[in-house]
């Protein structure tokens, strides 16, 4: 996340072909390894078991890398967009997560919420 390019990986689906609804900790783990960067990796999740699987994936990481990963409470779509943009500005992981999580409280429609 040192400014400019931001690597984004995805890990959706339970089975190898990704066609079964669910999440797979091993898929998440390999996605983290794929986009790995010393500045850290922010994990965005949707509902349900995604959080549990992401936690499992973190458990499987070496301690040194786990410390640089952050589970985000941000909404998946808005959070991904906001996080990618702010990460491309070279902001540190915690700051990127903060703006992504702020997207939780932002109404899409003017005057809503």
């Amino acid at each position: 996340m040192a400014g400019g390019q931001v690597e984004i990986g995805q890990a959706g689906g339970l089975s190898d072909d990704g066609e079964t609804l669910g999440t797979d900790a091993f898929k998440i783990l390999s996605a983290i390894e794929e986009v790995w960067c010393e500045d850290g990796v922010l994990l965005l999740m949707d509902l349900g078991s995604a959080v549990m699987s992401a936690e499992l994936a973190l458990d499987m990481l070496p301690e040194q890398r786990r410390q640089k990963c952050l589970l985000s409470n941000a909404p998946l779509v808005e959070g991904a967009i906001v996080a990618a943009l702010h990460a491309s500005l070279g902001e540190p992981l915690q700051a990127v997560n903060a703006v992504a999580e702020a997207a939780l409280s932002v109404p899409k429609l003017p005057g809503a919420g």
């Binding site: 808005e78 967009i81 906001v82 943009l85 702010h86 491309s88 500005l89 902001e91 703006v99 702020a102 997207a103 932002v106 109404p107 003017p110």
Partner: protein, 132 residues
């Protein structure tokens, strides 16, 4: 014109008030000194600030990609920079946050008020104005 005149009145009064305070401050300087000789309430110098109204020219409005350029540029300045969509009557948002910028829902022709406060406020507003 009447409005301007009535605005100028209180400002002139405030200026006079300030001068009076400064004069009385000079006279009463000794009271404001602490035992160690420092001033009890040193006045912090006012931060430079600058404000401008820009009109969105992009036919697609202020969308995510153009918004990114705005946030990227704004982030390069130390100044606190805000923007409000005058056409939608929104409150001022932090221009260094893309999610807040999107809240302005700025379409082509909308007037945005940009305001910056900080050491590089003037440069920030000048640079940002060129993006709209």
């Amino acid at each position: 014109m009447e409005n301007r005149a009535s605005q100028a009145g209180p400002q002139e009064e405030r200026l006079e008030d300030n001068q009076q305070h400064q004069q009385s401050g000079l006279r009463n300087n000794a009271r404001n000194l602490l035992p160690d000789g420092r001033l009890a309430q040193p006045e912090t110098p006012p931060q430079p600030s600058k404000s401008v109204v820009v009109t969105v020219s992009d036919p697609r409005g202020l969308h995510l990609r153009s918004g990114r350029d705005v946030v990227r540029l704004a982030s390069q300045f130390q100044a606190r920079i805000t923007a409000a969509n005058l056409s939608r009557n929104t409150s001022a948002i932090d221009l260094k946050s893309i999610i807040q910028l999107m809240q302005l829902q700025a379409r082509q022709g909308h007037d945005l008020q940009l305001a910056a406060t900080g050491p590089d406020a003037v440069a920030a507003i000048e640079a940002l104005s060129s993006l709209f």
